[in-house]
Amino acid sequence: MASRTRAESEHAKPPLSVRRVRPSDLAQIIALDERITGLAKPAYWHDVFRRYGGRRVEGRFFLVAAPPGRAPNPPILGFIAGEVRAWEFGSAPCGWVFALSVEPDARLHGVGEALLEAISSEFKRAGVSRMRTMVGRDNRLHLLFFRGEGMVAGPYIQLEKDLE
């Protein structure tokens, strides 16, 4: 019975709204990313906001999940960013997710799923039918999530080398 209660708790989905990022969200996004990665990257996130969230740019999406309502500065539960990329080594246009973070206390409540569904809808509206991402092999959290959402290994192989 205890495990069922835990399972029910994991499945419980609190009210949630997914919307485009606002300038007032940026400080929370920077703080959330720093808590999760252990690395503060304010300049990076300001740049991402400018290019993906500052104004509505076709094929670029920067979304946040927050409790519903119009509170002046609601807590951010998570965010996702991506864009439509085309013709990289022959790859037909597809949606690329390059950032996804969920507040640790809000995990297992459907926040990540809601964010992924929202950006999937944006990608479909932008005219693409496939979505990709790139995750480190040791990034168990994101790998388990994306696999659980039905993503599988694609036909491209990521390569790299140290620059001498």
Binding site: H11, R137, L143, L144, G148, E149, G150
Partner: protein, 165 residues
């Protein structure tokens, strides 16, 4: 890659049990579906029981039920109970030097190390893949496969997306 039979049977058994967590399933029932002897399967179930993934129910109508968390247990967790997935690079002894056997079989050469680097790349990809797929995810893949095979059903009756967890 090929998995050992025990690993495959363990995954099949966990899928059967996790698909209906409240139900007890006998070894004979699982064995019949996958065409394996109860004797072979019993050894696998014992190992899964020792790992805490299944629980045996004794007596009439007994069998096994799933006692793990399907959203947490990965294929790598299960397979690692039965086999070592490393492809085997240069064998190194306690002193950090290549062992005599490794030298005798050419494994201590630069060429063997280069080949070992390539094989390690493959090992890493295999482990990352198996470590990212849970029993729950594999059950969803099974369901999607069933959906694809019954595509004669009207499109509006087909489930495109996995059920919400």
């Amino acid at each position: 890659m090929r998995l050992q039979i025990a690993s495959r049977l363990a995954i099949f058994a966990l899928l059967e049990l996790a698909a209906s967590p409240g139900r007890q399933v006998s070894v004979a029932e699982i064995g019949e579906k996958y065409g394996v002897s109860s004797h072979h399967l019993a050894k696998v179930m014992n190992a899964l029981g020792r790992a805490g993934l299944v629980r045996a129910v004794r007596g009439a109508g007994g069998g096994y039920h799933f006692s793990g968390n399907a959203r947490r247990i990965t294929l790598l967790d299960v397979i690692s109970l039965f086999e070592n997935l490393e492809s085997g690079n240069v064998e190194v002894g306690a002193t950090g030097q290549a062992t005599d056997e490794a030298r005798a079989t050419g494994q201590a050469t630069d060429e063997a190390r280069a080949l070992g680097g390539v094989l390690a790349e493959i090992d890493d990809a295999v482990r990352a893949t198996l470590g990212s797929i849970t029993i729950a995810t594999l059950l969803r893949i099974v369901e999607r496969g069933r959906g694809g095979r019954t595509s004669a059903a009207p499109a509006d009756q087909r489930r495109e997306d996995p059920p919400p967890e």
